[in-house]
Symmetry: C2
Subunit: 330 residues, 2 copies
């Protein structure tokens, strides 16, 4: 950087720190070091409290919940003065946290990565990971996170997302499920899910994970709206294979598709380390061999007709001959 009169004497820095669930056990070494390095720590009052012992002697700015843009503005203000600022979020700063709002504020203010204020994001485990760890293994397979907060997002957008992932059988983590003011969104989420999922689909509600007031409740899709849910809760809705046994919520990875669980042997037509017989290659072969038209296959597989038609129109793959040499699936 050239030494011009406008160059700040020292380079300021904004560190977007994900605290994870907030217990010190679950802070990463880098997160802890970032807070130690900071001159100023800014965050929602509850998060500041989580790291109270680590902020002694530092400037501490506590903000209330909806003042996210303010936090980012104050962080930038200090950093421009050459200070190191830790902007803290629970969980991961990139997941409904401070990372996005901070960049929006920085860009709006004309900041660029070369302008003398450095920005570092320190990842942490998000609520869906920490809550999942307390109830078993609910995430195992494809999952989503949806926020039920409509403070910044129109309801139809949220509703379309809920309906889409319920239909496509994802495990779903609902963030911001309910508040003093927003009580009906969780009811609507249940309504949309019940269009596709069994009423007895396992649901876990975890509040204040890894903190003193931690509370875990197992329930079902049908009954979840009768449970205690608040802003400190994360709601985990299982997919159609998720089960609860011995107080643990588990989503299978799919071994039963390939292996006989009693004997451990692979099922007829399946091979360890290879795609399923209904994986892409085998499934494509089946499409061609079926003799059915695109419209019929689209209904059978619940996929768009234009997609099936495009696949049928392509020349057949010669198979994975080039891949054979690549060895077992990594």
């Amino acid at each position: 950087m050239n030494d011009t009169p406008n160059t700040p004497a020292s380079v300021g820095k904004i560190m977007l720190v994900g605290l994870g669930p907030g217990s010190h056990d679950h802070l990463t070494a880098r997160a802890r070091a970032a807070i130690a390095e900071a001159d100023t720590v800014i965050g929602y009052v509850t998060y500041i409290r989580l790291v109270a012992e680590l902020v002694d002697g530092k400037e501490v700015i506590k903000k209330s919940m909806t003042e996210e843009l303010d936090r980012a503005i104050e962080a930038f203000d200090r950093a421009r003065q050459g200070k190191k600022v830790a902007l803290i979020s629970s969980g991961d700063a990139g997941v409904y946290g401070m990372a996005g709002p901070t960049f929006e504020v920085l860009f709006q203010a004309g900041w660029t990565p070369e302008s003398g204020v450095e920005v570092e994001i320190i990842p942490g485990a998000s609520a869906l990971n920490t809550c999942a760890a307390l109830v078993g293994a609910p995430l195992t397979h494809d999952f989503c996170a949806i926020s039920l907060s409509d403070l910044l997002t129109p309801w139809p957008t949220i509703a379309r997302r809920l309906d889409a992932v319920a239909a496509a059988d994802f495990v779903v983590a609902l963030y911001n499920p309910k508040s003093g003011r927003r009580t009906r969104q969780i009811v609507e989420a249940r309504r949309l899910f019940l269009r596709h999922r069994r009423p007895d689909t396992p649901v876990a509600i975890v509040k204040s994970a890894y903190r003193p007031r931690q509370r875990i409740e197992f329930t079902t899709l049908e009954n979840m709206t009768d449970c205690d849910i608040g802003m400190l809760s994360t709601v985990l809705i299982g997919n159609s294979n998720t089960f609860v046994r011995h107080g643990l919520m588990v989503t299978p990875r799919g071994y039963r598709n390939k292996y006989d669980v009693e004997s451990g042997a692979t099922r007829d037509g399946e091979q360890a380390g290879r795609s399923l017989s209904t994986g892409l290659t085998g499934w494509l072969a089946g499409l061609h061999a079926s003799g059915l038209c695109a419209a019929e296959l689209a209904v059978l597989h619940r996929l768009p007709e234009d997609y099936i038609a495009a696949l049928l129109a392509e020349p057949r793959d010669t198979g994975d001959t080039a891949d054979e040499a690549a060895g077992a699936e990594a």
Copy 2:
């Protein structure tokens, strides 16, 4: 626990440890402590290498990629002998990691939480969090994780999920995007996404996050299949609002729906700390006031007709009067 001849002298334990990205900086204190506590450490050879300095003097069992069930079986075997076993995964053990397979093996073997082998899951930041932290703030809003591996999952299931989340405008992280053998799944993912998303949708491909061979490439939905993607890569596909500026990929949180970004003032009809005018309450009012029928509203809002019909049929809410006292949105 009663002292019967069959009770083991010491209680064994399985600790399912999420290593995060693998660099020691990003290990949580609990993850590090769990490895230190272990008599035996079991994991895929690459993950063992990441914690090589921490496993001195311990029994170390290295496994290859598809031997997940074997790792769980060996862990249970040692734990039944009273040992403490760290079963390690990169990222978070609950996300396409060892947690699900381990519980499946344990239940199959007749284990219960009271049977003398304790199980603890130690959460870590998953690849989607760590990769996101390196490229900016792509996750900010609703997101999903989908594995393109069809070793245990039929292709139509994966395809339905890809199509659903592309249509519903999620940010999407693709895990296991490509391997030596599986080269076409990423092509199909692109094809399905292009049914709904602009070809210039930002995509980031991150390989070996926070490790020596880390590599980040920014591309687009259209071009991503030309890029170097492998089993150490995570592919992040933005939603329709995601943008790239100054080398950073950012998904907006939605402030523009509520605030004028130039002045910072709330837009007409909007209030800080309250649901948008198109949040659930306002949107419902709009449905009723529109004079349109369920079928027309369903097309307009791209939501199921039966859902709209059910909403129209309900008596109107008297509004959030009970919630007014609850104070500003938390």
